[in-house]
Amino acid sequence: MGAHTLEPARWWRRRQEPLVLAVVALLVAAAVLVPLVSLAAGVFARDGAAAFAVLGSPRVRTLFARSLALAAAATVLALAAGLPLGLWLGRATFRGRRVVLLVHAFPLFLPPFLVALGWFHLLGRTGARVLLFGPAGVGAVLGFAFAPLVTALVALAVEAVDPALVDAARAVARPARVATHVLLPLAWPAAALGGLVVFVLAFSELGVPLFLGVTVYPAEVFVRLAAFGNLAEATALCVPLVAVGWLVLVLERALGARPLAALGLRSGLRAPPPPAAAPRGRRLARAAALSLALAPALLPLAGLAWRAAAGHAFAHLGGRLGDSVATSLAAGAAGATAITALALVLGHAVVRRRRVAAVADALAVLGFVVPATVLALGLVAAWNRPATRLVYGSLAILVLGFVARYAVVGVRTFAVAVAQASPHLEEAAAAHGGSYLQRLARIVVPLHARGAVAAWLLAFLFCLRDVETAILYYPPGRDPLPVRIFALEANGGDALVAGLSLVQVALTAAALAAVAALLLVRRRHPA
């Protein structure tokens, strides 16, 4: 029964899945690989050998080592804070636990330089000069800003642990021993993944080091392009960054798919049992843990609010915001929609272990782990041509960049949702005559509508906070809000910048509130 003997309708039914998957995989490959290949090709076309000489300079080597050290320090701090908090929040039963986790996670969805700005205003110029400016401050700000990622992953992993395992251990051991000998080993893959992602984000970070007066490797790439217009040297400097990205990708693959399940919304957070009165010692410990969870999130925001209010910034915000909010929302929404559309196909195929999906998924991960500067330069090299002015000069380039960098967020979120349901639901649909597209449209997507909405919202949040990629190629006059804040920050006007930052905070809070509502709503159709 060869394909050539099939009538067209049956041929199409049988080819739906491979064809749709191939198209989606090609789109992801185009979004991620075209910039990277263009970047490489550009260097060799422009006297690459001379450009590569820059890699041998002692300054470049020092900056590279410094960036690695700062990313490692931020990772260690994020693990030190996030791991115990995650273990605690994953097992805690007090009322308001979900709110604590969401508030704790809030800085993760802000451009990190906004957090640095908040600390700066809170500490004052003198305090900031002592505590904030310099490599230690950069490591601390990034560590605390990204720690919620570790917290959330570990908390979700701990929640997924069979309660019987913990009960069995509690019968013979104290809670601390249960945490270190049972929960910690089980949650370790999630913590390791969290550490890996923190390292990637910290290594890519441009805004915080620039603001705190520390020259880092990605900043050097930025300066070569923005200040000297030397694309060849900037591209040559990207080679070690690509190597780091590739190494992280290999490590992520080595961690396997299981811990990645925690990247999404495995179950929301389970409803806690009614709180019991805790003894005094435990109440103190809880207060300390709550402080550790909430202070790094709330204090910088308080600093921003205080500075904006003291400088009467709110009256002047309208004129300085311009179109930036509309640009942020439009590009973010378009990016999140495109990402979700890809994720519905790819996330499902990843769970069903389709080979093409594994490749496309690896490319999506590559887009995320390759330092943002590399991807941004690649987009410039690929699209800044007369023939593609229509794309490069419009919001489309922002959307393309978002898809390239954050597709993995949507794909993994939807994949987690699909993985939660019994595969029999789809297998029954296939056995009862449903073609691939019928199953996708009438079973998979409606069944996991909540996962699709979560994928959109998370992708939107990541697009909304992006500054490190967009800053290199945003279309003239269409700068997103974080880019505008970053640019204004360099030109003074503390109160105004703090006020604009609060607008960014409000936008993020609104989107995050939607995520929270989604998580808190009980599942209507438990699968």
Binding site: R10, E427, A430, A431, G433
Partner: protein, 271 residues
């Protein structure tokens, strides 16, 4: 729309597996398994956990391909070594999984309608067949409910109705009653037997429970370690068990004939 020519189905067994083998890693899940289900026949595939029963269902449905051997539906080759020749949606089969796999976002009517519309049954005919099937299983007044609003027994009825409303070439039932209490199981065995026999739809009923196999199967095939060790009517199996394993498996059944399943006596469970 099925990918199996009707001419092929005329005289051939409804389902046939010939020397089928499948390995998962180092383990032989199926090792040269051969069995067939005749027209209008209910074959009970009886075996303990891990004997490969559910793998047989997956192979027949086309959800996996055998490493060796052939699978035929209505005489037509649907899977051969390493290859799914006809995809699941074109095999014209019905299935009831152990977890039932009712689509929770669809109503009872929606669950029954999915397969009919996927197979291109016109709307008017679809409604008529769904109404008749729901009336037959006593769920006419539950058509607008979602699975989450139904009792355990009602869900089982929806699952079997969803499979049978398609008028499939054969239906596969993979331990559909294993999660139910004894009384409900006893009631539903009677319902299943009546539905299958009155429609003459060939069925492969997979179970680890000898009483279910005895009550539902026209013949019983005993599966052990990936191969059929004995096959025949209950009386034949009991009269001349091929091995101590078969003898032990059937030891719990009360002679002389098949009886509805009752409370399991104490002893080692096969599940």
């Amino acid at each position: 729309m099925t990918g199996i020519p009707s001419a092929a189905a005329a005289a051939a067994p409804a389902l046939a597996l010939d020397a089928v083998a499948l390995r998962y890693g180092p383990r032989d899940v199926l090792a040269g398994l051969t069995l067939s289900v005749g027209a209008g026949e209910v074959l009970a595939l009886l075996g303990p956990s891990g004997s490969g029963k559910s793998t047989v269902v997956r192979l027949v449905l086309g959800l996996a391909a055998p490493d060796a051997g052939e699978v035929r539906v209505g005489g037509a080759l649907v899977s051969s070594a390493g290859r799914v020749v006809v995809p699941p949606e074109e095999r014209g089969l019905g299935v009831v999984f152990q977890d039932l796999a009712l689509w929770p976002h669809l109503t009872v009517r929606g669950n029954l309608a999915f397969g009919l519309s996927a197979r291109g049954v016109p709307r008017h005919d679809r409604h008529r067949r769904i109404d008749a099937m729901l009336a037959r299983v006593g769920l006419s007044d539950r058509a607008a409910c979602r699975p989450g609003e139904l009792s355990g027994g009602e869900r089982q009825r929806v699952a079997i109705a969803r499979a049978l409303v398609l008028e499939p070439r054969a239906v596969l039932l993979d331990e559909p009653l294993s999660s139910l209490d004894v009384l409900l199981r006893r009631e539903l065995v009677i319902v299943f037997r009546a539905l299958l026999h009155e429609r003459g739809i060939p069925a492969l009923y997979v179970t680890h429970e000898p009483r279910e196999a005895a009550a539902l199967g026209d013949r019983i095939a005993v599966l052990e370690a990936g191969r059929v060790v004995q096959e025949g009517t209950l009386d034949a199996l009991r009269a001349r068990p091929a091995s101590p394993f078969v003898e032990q498996l059937l030891a719990d059944l009360t002679p002389p004939g098949p009886a509805p399943p009752g409370p399991a006596p104490p002893g080692p469970a096969h599940g």
